[in-house]
């Protein structure tokens, strides 16, 4: 399971970085979203992977660390708000600048199909 999770985080991060480096605002927003998914997963597994154990200290022999779950909750809320904000900002930039390029103007290379 460790390898699978690591692969998922890696692929999400790589796609996120690739998309965030694109020239148009929509892929950039998607890229940031992928990055935040990757980091949320990453934070979550920092409490170690465990199946079927309670997230509280009790009489049970094993328990899983509840703190990363709280951290992920905070991170999800923040990244959710940030994504909403950056979408609105991208729309505003589209309206104010007349196109959806991050620099406000399309260069000639981008215009080619």
């Amino acid at each position: 399971m460790e390898a699978l999770i690591a692969l998922v985080i890696g692929v999400l991060t790589a796609s996120g970085v690739f998309l965030a480096l694109r020239g148009q605002t929509f892929p950039v927003v998607l890229g940031l979203t992928f990055l935040s998914y990757a980091v949320n997963l990453f934070l979550f597994v920092m409490g170690r992977l465990a199946i079927g154990v309670p997230p509280v200290i009790s009489d049970a022999a094993a328990y899983t660390d509840p703190l990363p779950q709280a951290l992920v909750l905070t991170a999800i809320v923040i990244s959710f708000g940030m994504t909403a904000f950056v979408i609105v900002l991208a729309l505003k930039a589209r309206a104010e600048l007349g196109n959806d390029h991050v620099d406000g103007t399309h260069s000639e290379e981008d215009a080619a199909p």
Binding site: V28, S36, L43, M82, F85, V86, L89, A93, L97
Partner: protein
């Protein structure tokens, strides 16, 4: 300690939050009421910061346990000398920037005062918190408020600069979380004092992980501080936003510098065992390159506000070069330079606004324009501000740089630091003199109708310059405080004992 005094460390965090929420609820109240609340809340931060400064000045490290949970299980706020120092600088800059905003910038868009208070909430929280994840949360709060403030008033240039600023900071936040997650995964704690203890005992097989996380954190803080090569977002963002916001943002790069100083003196300092002096090879060359690059940018700038933005980058370089010396004298020089450069930058940003206004359609671009009305007052103030920025005697910039040069005498970086600081100082003088003569002397007559600046347009900037003068008059006590702060930072054991209550 009785009632209110016991809760002193949390008041600078709570007050702007409560004021911000109240302002949001009162958004349809008359403008005078909103301005009154905002001004009162911002002004009240000054006595609060003074009280904290007085408490911290005898070396007390006031630890405030939220919900009375003991560290490292609960979140703590720590008001030590450094935190109080940063709060004081923030409160002063915020007050004068707000006074400037009250003359009209705050009605260009909605919710200016709400965002302003939330920005102060984030700033004060970031300076006070003793928990790494909490630092992330306060970073996000101050960033989200700063996105709103940056875009305040709108316009294509502001939106474009804002988009870059937001995207790069979102990537920075993601990296911050990766670093925090790695540190938690290795040590199982997020309390900075506890982290310092645990990181010093890092076992060899985790060393690479911890170092990666530590350097990732440095990357994030360097992004906030606009250290080369992560400085490219700053000039456009600062040059195109409104004057009071740019003035308040003078403290924003200092948040990054503060975080570098706090985290790397506490968690990766000389006593940190296996991970000691993690940044020793990186910080100084990066800081010096930043200083030179910032100054070259200022030479090539085509407008006054753009030039000041590049000077902000240069000042970050100077500041971090001082911190990189990693000695009591070096850090003390940096801590003296920090409020000076914040005040001077804020003042000159506030001055650029009436100058641009008085020049009509040429605004602050460096081209020959009509003789501006009120040039005597504006020119005089610009002269004083430029002297402070360039670091010439008799103002505080000179003292800061002098302390830095003297502190570098014993450092292996002596040659590099002296040549970089002295050469950029000279370039700074020439650049600012050229800008001043272009704006104020090389003028021609015009039929364009120009309006003279009112006293309210330049009084806040003059107030900030007076504070800078105060730093010269009381240079003795101020530098004593800075030296004591530096000594406290280089003895992290006291901080750790204060937070963890002396437990091992």
């Amino acid at each position: 300690m009785n009632g209110l005094a016991m809760h002193l460390p949390i008041l600078p965090v709570l007050l702007p939050l409560v004021a911000g929420i109240a302002l949001l609820a009162l958004r349809s109240a008359p403008l005078a009421v909103q301005r009154g609340i905002s001004l009162a809340a911002t002004a009240a931060l000054v006595p609060l910061a003074l009280a904290l400064l007085a408490t911290a000045s005898d070396g007390t490290q006031l630890v405030y346990k939220l919900g009375n949970w003991d560290a490292p299980f609960g979140i703590v706020l720590v008001a030590d000398r450094l935190a109080a120092w940063m709060l004081m600088a923030t409160a002063l800059v915020a007050l004068f920037a707000l006074l400037h905003a009250l003359r009209g910038d705050d009605v260009q868009g909605r919710h200016f005062h709400v965002l302003y208070q939330l920005q102060l909430f984030g700033l004060n929280g970031a300076f006070l918190t003793g928990d790494l994840f909490n630092l992330f949360v306060f970073f996000e709060i101050l960033l989200l408020a700063s996105y709103g403030l940056l875009l305040h008033g709108g316009g294509p240039l502001r939106v474009k600069a804002g988009l870059h600023f937001v995207v790069i900071n979102l990537v920075g936040s993601t990296l911050f979380l990766f670093a925090v997650g790695t540190l938690y995964g290795v040590t199982g704690t997020l309390n900075m004092a506890d982290l310092a203890v645990k990181l010093a005992r890092t076992v060899p097989e985790n060393l690479a992980l911890v170092e990666a996380a530590g350097l990732l954190l440095f990357g994030v803080f360097a992004l906030k501080a606009a250290l080369l090569p992560l400085h490219l977002w700053l000039p456009a963002a600062y040059a195109h936003t409104s004057a009071p916001v740019a003035a308040l943002f003078a403290i924003m790069t200092k948040v990054g510098a503060y975080s570098i100083l706090r985290v790397y003196s506490l968690m990766f300092g000389a006593d940190a065992g296996a991970v000691a002096n993690l940044l020793a090879d990186w910080l100084m060359p990066l800081a010096l390159v930043t200083l030179v690059a910032g100054m070259l940018g200022a030479v090539g700038a085509t407008a006054l506000r753009q030039q000041i933005a590049y000077l902000v980058i240069a000042s970050v370089g100077t500041l971090l070069a001082a911190f990189a010396l990693d000695s009591v004298d070096g850090i003390a020089a940096g801590l003296y330079y920090l409020p000076h450069t914040t005040l001077a930058t804020a003042a000159i940003f506030l001055l650029a606004d009436p100058i641009a206004r008085a020049r009509g359609e040429r605004a602050d671009r460096f081209e020959s324009g009509p003789a501006m009305p009120g040039a005597r007052v504006l020119g005089g103030l610009f002269f004083v501000a430029a002297i402070a920025m360039a670091g010439l005697p008799p103002l505080s910039g000179f003292l800061g740089k002098f302390m830095l040069l003297r502190a570098a005498l014993e450092s292996p970086w002596l040659t590099w630091l002296w040549s970089a600081v002295l050469a950029t100082g000279l370039i700074g003088v020439i650049t600012l003199a050229r800008s001043g003569s272009l704006l104020f002397y090389r003028t021609h007559s015009t039929t364009e109708k120009l309006t003279a600046p009112r006293a309210a347009d330049w009084l806040p900037a003059a107030g900030l310059l007076l504070l800078g003068l105060g730093m010269v008059v009381w240079a003795g006590p101020v530098s004593d405080y800075a030296t004591a702060t530096a000594a406290q930072l280089l003895e992290p054991q006291a901080y750790i004992d204060a937070v963890l209550g002396g437990r091992p």
